[in-house]
């Protein structure tokens, strides 16, 4: 039952800046593998967010643009409207997509823009040093919720996949995770499906990926995946929320 396994071509040799155990690296690899498998490296444009993945362009051998905080879906819209033949994906975190960029993602999804969004949800602002995100769990301590997220004051964490699925415009919306090998295998299938829908010119596609942030959670990588499994997955249910067919 053995397998060969190697770095995908669309991924560069550069070592990432991510902390040990940060799952961004896994998600990068899945995207790169899908791009390799679909043979679209030469016509793909990625859009890096503001957030920990701001330097994502260093890790892919692809044309890349770098957006301002939250604006990646607007940039992707601009590209797809003038060059529908290009394959475009945005790579965004929870602060970027669910907070400052909420308007951009909702409207891009609602217009049915034919690009793919990889939405990395790790329940915290990573880059700026562990502040509360719109997806931070109730009671979760962050640098701006030192006593734990008080849902009476700041509301419940936003379930983006469900929110976007409520739009009437057809789309492909799924929530996956990369905290265990079996989830990773499924996540890759979802990422591939998302890109395929784009290739077919069918619809907007978004893969939310439940992820970890050991550094800002104050846990070891192994404890972090356990915390995500026990705390996040019961709230952020995995699965397909919407399909265009």
């Amino acid at each position: 039952m053995g397998k060969t396994f190697a770095k995908p071509e669309a991924l560069s040799d550069q070592h990432t800046h991510y902390c040990p155990g940060c799952t961004h690296g896994i998600i990068h690899r899945l995207v790169a593998e899908v791009i390799d498998e679909l043979g679209i490296k030469g016509r793909t444009v990625g859009i890096a967010p503001v957030g920990c993945a701001v330097l994502a362009y260093n890790y892919f051998i692809l044309d890349f643009q770098e957006a301002a905080h939250g604006r990646a879906p607007a940039m992707a819209t601009g590209i797809k409207r003038v060059r529908p033949d290009l394959i475009v994906f945005t790579y965004q975190g929870d602060g970027d997509l669910a907070s400052i960029g909420m308007g951009e993602i909702i409207h891009a999804a609602n217009r049915g823009e034919k690009f793919t969004t990889i939405f990395v949800n790790n329940a915290v602002y990573g880059m700026t040093g562990g502040q509360m995100a719109p997806t931070t769990m109730p009671g979760q301590r962050t640098t701006t919720s030192p006593f734990g997220r008080n849902v009476k004051e700041v509301g419940m964490p936003i379930k983006m996949a469900e929110l976007l699925s409520a739009l009437e415009t057809p789309g492909y919306i799924t929530r996956q995770s990369v905290i265990k090998p079996k989830y990773i295998v499924r996540a890759k299938k979802a990422v591939k499906k998302a890109f395929q829908y784009q290739l077919e010119g069918r619809c907007f596609s978004l893969v939310e990926v439940i992820s970890t942030c050991p550094t800002n959670w104050g846990l070891t990588p192994v404890q972090a995946v356990k915390w995500a499994e026990e705390t996040m997955l019961p709230y952020y249910k995995l699965g397909e929320f919407k399909r265009p067919d």
Partner: protein
């Protein structure tokens, strides 16, 4: 039919198409919504892209994304909308992408009013967004000039890989004048393979392109900013445009005025000439780069006693005029803001009061 009667707003939209720009993203705002209305009908006719974005913020990034992958793009808005776009403008300038922005100014601050104003002079010429960037800013005084400036804006944006802004007031957008679209101003597509993220296959090479504004290394960011500065310095050498009026006379006062305000000033100057009072005018057609030498030279005339900056703002351009006159003469300001365009009579009265 050679000439056609058009509103400034319609003419601006048509001029972009005639210049070879078929990609327009915008958000409605008075007094320029006719551009979007016009192009929502016209773009489908010419196979172009028309998209109404969800906000001016989003629109500025639609332009950024599209421009960064090599497309020729433009948008139009009015003052509060330009404030929202200023974030994107800063990124576009930092990433060195060409794009054309048209601001049909209305009164401010805040919601202000919908009538003509020139109160966004600072915003256009001194910033608006963050960081060390400049826009090439042109200010038309007629619908025909707006057409020509729009058509010129695209090659300039591409030459400098920098956003270009057209600064018009509400009158330019709303008034109707006969216009022609000069064929010779149509731009050919320029090759952007060196930098645009148009897909490696498009370029037939394995070299990837990256459009970004982040420089974590202080030295590299400084280098980047120096390179941008060199571009702005080159604009100062090569792109200054202005018009002189009644400058051969022995004028006693010199008016500096731009946009439709300058047309009121021309009428005022004609009226004063009839009365035997000579007044000259420098009309900047580019606000950045500002016609520094032209103003200085005009202010150096022996007969001239005073320089008056006349603008529909509470005194913004006057600061540039003062800078250019270098203390040679007193520099005065006259203006009105709020939509009440000064009349020729009021201009005459103001000029006389300074003499």
């Amino acid at each position: 039919m050679g000439k056609i009667l058009m509103k400034g707003n319609e003419a601006i939209g048509e001029a972009a198409i005639r210049a070879g720009c078929l990609n327009y993203f915008a958000y409605p705002i008075t007094p320029q919504s006719e551009v979007a209305e016009y192009l929502s009908r016209r773009m489908p006719e010419v196979g172009g892209v028309f998209l109404q974005g969800e906000s001016e913020v989003a629109v500025s990034y639609m332009l950024f994304g599209a421009s960064a992958c090599g497309a020729r793009v433009f948008t139009t808005s009015s003052s509060p909308g330009i404030s929202l776009m200023s974030e994107g403008i800063s990124y576009i300038a930092g990433a060195q992408c060409p794009a054309v922005f048209v601001n049909i100014m209305r009164g401010g601050p805040g919601l202000g009013g919908i009538l003509p104003s020139q109160a966004d002079y600072f915003q256009a010429t001194k910033g608006g967004g963050h960081g060390d960037y400049r826009l090439l800013v042109m200010a038309p005084a007629s619908v025909q000039e707006a057409v020509e400036m729009v058509m010129l804006a695209f090659p300039l944006a591409e030459k400098y890989r920098n956003p270009v802004m057209l600064l018009g007031d509400g009158l330019i957008g709303q008034m109707m004048e006969p216009v022609e679209f000069p064929d010779h101003l149509k731009s050919e597509p320029t090759n952007k393979d060196e930098w645009a993220t148009n897909g490696m296959d498009t370029r037939g090479s394995n070299k990837r392109n990256l459009v970004k504004t982040l420089f974590l290394d202080a030295g590299k960011l400084n280098e980047h900013n120096l390179m941008l500065k060199a571009k702005y310095d080159r604009m100062k050498r090569e792109e200054i445009r202005y018009e002189l009026y009644n400058i051969e006379s022995d004028y006693k006062a010199l008016i500096v005025s731009y946009g439709t305000m300058s047309r009121v000033c021309k009428t005022a100057i004609d009226n004063m000439k009839d009365e035997g009072l000579e007044v000259g005018m420098v009309r900047p057609q580019t606000l950045f780069p500002f016609p520094e030498n032209a103003v200085y030279e005009a202010a150096s005339k022996e007969s001239c006693k005073v320089v008056v900056s006349i603008e529909m703002s509470m005194g913004q351009m006057v600061e540039d005029v003062e800078r250019c006159v270098k203390g040679k003469l007193p520099v005065k300001w006259y203006g009105k803001c709020g939509g009440d365009v000064p009349t020729p009579e009021e201009v005459v009265e103001a000029v006389k009061s300074f003499l």
